[in-house]
Amino acid sequence: MSEVTFKVFRYDPAKDGGKHYQTYKVPLRRGMTVLQGLLYIKERLDPTLAIRFSCRMATCGSCGMMINGLPRLACYTLIEDLKKQTVVVEPLRNYPVIRDLVADFSEFFEKHRWVKPYLIRIDTYTQEKSNTSYLQSDEELERYIQFAYCIKCGLCYAACPVVASDKEFLGPQALAQLYRYLADSRDEGTAERLKSVADGHKLLRCHFAASCSKVCPKGVDPALAIQLLRREVLLRA
């Protein structure tokens, strides 16, 4: 059985506010994930380490962090796959840090709420009160279902170069969700959605660096959603 070194970012605003890296030696089992390594540290070595995790199977989106320089899910990353003796773990880039590896997602969720991630129907009474089903064919489903797999893990937001410098840009997750509802045949708020991003930095500052799609753990491909959205906005709105 071998060992691997974890270099973990530590920051506690309540204590002294100093940012530093702490090294831990973690025994390695075959098939061990970074999350299991961090939990070993938390259970046996240093209980003060703060991390977010929940499902440990890449479906809740809680454990996003920068692992060896790239945004990844800790539960989804095998230590063996990193092929390095040292695992450097830092909180997700482009988010304010609350403590240690925990990032503040309020701005991320705010931008998500801003795009109105729900079906907009003209007849809201029927939508809320009656028992009608909205019929949808398979082809209509295929147009948006890929983007509905988003688990809001925030890795795309960490990878995007525009998010890093532009506060007004909505970010790949929010824009992909905007397109998911736009392309949904059951949605009737097309004009309103297109108009909301036709001006300003919200959509048009995407330059197709596609880093978001590269790091997405669920294959949502936000870059594709944004280009299709851009096409609609430029040609239709």
Binding site: S165, D166, F169, A198, D199, H201, V233, A237
Partner: protein
């Protein structure tokens, strides 16, 4: 609405620059050996003689306007991404427009003078 229109123009000017730029590069590099093109005399293939032809001078003028718009709009996009704020945004837009307009005016003057010089 406005940013969307500016971006559409950015794409369109980009494509048009391919045409106008192609013409400019052809006249300088492909019509004759490079040393020949750079001579001042009115030999038929020299760069100066390009200005004699109204169509070629016109395409040069078009290239000037298109590149000024496309390039300075690009600079505006990059600068506005680096920092946000209402006054900063307006200042960048204004500065970029002024420099682009100044260059277009100066370049047009050059083309007009060269056109007259070449037709002496």
């Amino acid at each position: 609405m406005r940013e969307k229109n500016i971006m559409l123009l950015h794409y369109i000017t980009g494509i048009l620059i391919l045409v106008a730029g192609g013409i400019h590069l052809s006249t300088v590099f492909l019509l004759s050996p490079y040393e020949e093109s750079m001579k001042f005399d009115s030999s038929p293939l020299a760069v100066m003689s390009v200005y004699r032809n109204v169509l070629l001078a016109g395409s040069l003028e078009a290239l000037l306007i298109l590149v000024a718009f496309h390039g300075f709009n690009g600079l505006r996009v990059i600068l506005q991404e680096l920092h946000q704020g209402k006054t900063y945004k307006k200042a960048v837009s204004l500065a970029v427009t002024i420099v682009a307009l100044a260059l277009v005016v100066y370049g047009t003057r050059t083309i007009l003078i060269a056109h007259q010089l070449a037709n002496l």
